[in-house]
Every structure is written in C-alpha cells, then in structure tokens.
Symmetry: C2
Subunit: 140 residues, 2 copies
Amino acid sequence: MLSRYVLDKLENLSYKITPQRKAILQVLEENQGDHLSAEQIFLSVKKRMPNVGIATVYRTLDALANLGVLHKTSFDEGLFRYEFCEDDRHHHHHLVCVTCGNITEIEEDLLYQLERKVEDQGFKVIDHSLVIYGICQGCQ
Amino acid sequence: MLSRYVLDKLENLSYKITPQRKAILQVLEENQGDHLSAEQIFLSVKKRMPNVGIATVYRTLDALANLGVLHKTSFDEGLFRYEFCEDDRHHHHHLVCVTCGNITEIEEDLLYQLERKVEDQGFKVIDHSLVIYGICQGCQ
DNA sequence: TGAAACAATGATAATGGTTATCATTATCGC
DNA sequence: GCGATAATGATAACCATTATCATTGTTTCA
C-alpha cells in the first residue's frame, strides 16, 4: 500500500501520478531495508507491468531521489543502489560483507563527535555516507 | 622520487617494473592527498610519456589498488578516484563540498566506538569508507 | 465528458567509464 | 644475448546510464 506521504509529496510538486511511478514506488516500499540496483528494480517492476521501459525506471529513480523519497548511493561497485526512505536525512550506516556481498544497516549514528570536529574546521556538514566493510556472521 | 617501499613491494610480488608503472606511480606520489580520476592520471602520465595507453593506466591502477599501494574509491559520481597510500589500511575520511566538488581529508578517525558496536553484533570489521558532504569554508 | 496542454513514456541511439582481446613489445632471469 | 612470459597499445566490447524524439496519457478546465 503506497505511502500517502509520498504521493502527496509528488502531487504537491506537480509530478503526475503515473502507473509506472506507482509500480516503482511499490517495489521500493516492498523492499524497504534492501538496496536494490536499477536493474533489480526494473525487473521487479516488469513483473507487474511488462511494458515499462528501463529509461523510465532510471528517470523515476532520479526524480524520487531528488525529492528525498529515496536514497541513491553506491558501494564502489560501479553502479548505484536505491533505498526507500521517508526522511530527508539518511540516518543509518551500511555494513557490506566482502565475502558474500550482503548489505545490511546499523542504526547507531555516533558520528556527532566527528562531525563537530569537522565543523570546528569550518566545514558545514550536510550529510554523510559511511560504509563499513568486513565479514558478516554467516561468512565467518 | 619513487618510494623504495612501493618498488620493493612490486618486485617481491613478481610484477615487472615498467616505465609506464613508474610514471603512474610518480604522478600519484606527486599528487598525494589528491583524489584523481583515471582520466586525470592518464592525462598527467601522457605528458611525460605520450604513447601510454588508457587501458594500461586502468590495469596498473587496479593492480596497485590490489597491492594496497593505492586506495580506489568513488564519491557517488559514477567513476572511481585513486589516492596514494603506503599503509594497508586507510585511516582518513573525506570531506566533499557539494558546491564546488572539492575533496579534502580529515585525519581524525573516531569510528572506534561505532566499530565496537558493529563487532558486538557479530560483524568482523575490516575497513570503512566515510564521506562527509557539506559546504567548505570557501563556498560559505 | 471531452479537449488541450504538456508531462511522461518507450524505444533506442548515444555517452562515458571501464574491461577484454590480440598482436606486438619489452622486462628479467639465466 | 636469448627465451619465457608479463605487459603494452589499440581498439572493440561491455555495462550502466542518459539523451533524443515520436507517441501516449494525466490532469485541468470548461
């Protein structure tokens, strides 16, 4: 069930609510907590609307990321991944297992102290991206 | 002047010391603290050896990254950047100005506490990548 | 309910960054 | 100096993403 919040946000910014956009949002909502590539999202959307174009998926993902509905990031793989978030600010970090490639999250922020030091040096902090690489429990 | 350490490392692992590799290493050593793209490195190397091929640059950068002589990372730009480091572990973080795109570093680590929490959850930490996005002093 | 405006779409060509292929060159050990 | 083989340069190929353009479809308004 699509978030009223997201649809409202789209309408308030004069975006048309097309079936393709709804389908893409549904896939992302159903996969909350995951970090799907554009290709994965495209294949998932195709299951429910076979005519959707890959370019539409890319355009929609970028639009949603610009609206703050998605977070668009990369994990040094040469491609972008997308995750659903309804906050404008991204509050968790990622754990990437170098053995199996699994991506999980940790909610603890704990960057306050570091960000204070950075601001003490005159740099105005807006956002951050932290990825911790290692070996997950399942691969040890 | 090329680091004896790096050359030793190459030799010890049976890599041939070719002029191309020396030139690439020189460019990286001369730009320590910078985060150059493959294209930038290629253009810089071309100034001192006009016949070098772009594929050679890519192959060499990957080889050096695998050896731990370089750090290969991306800043969500759709391309990789490379920085010279002689440690096997990367100890600083990056500050990226969203206005001018400048990339600087902060030496403070301060992730110990967070990494402890992560390891308490059964994830064995190997490395991390932290980018702080904001506005640099010059752009405020 | 229909029409108009124009946003959005799908198909596909194009782009940019990177890698694979292959013939040729060059390093290094002996 | 020679042989083995790693490395090179050129370029084709690949992949993820974006640009182009004709067509479609959403939304507003009368």
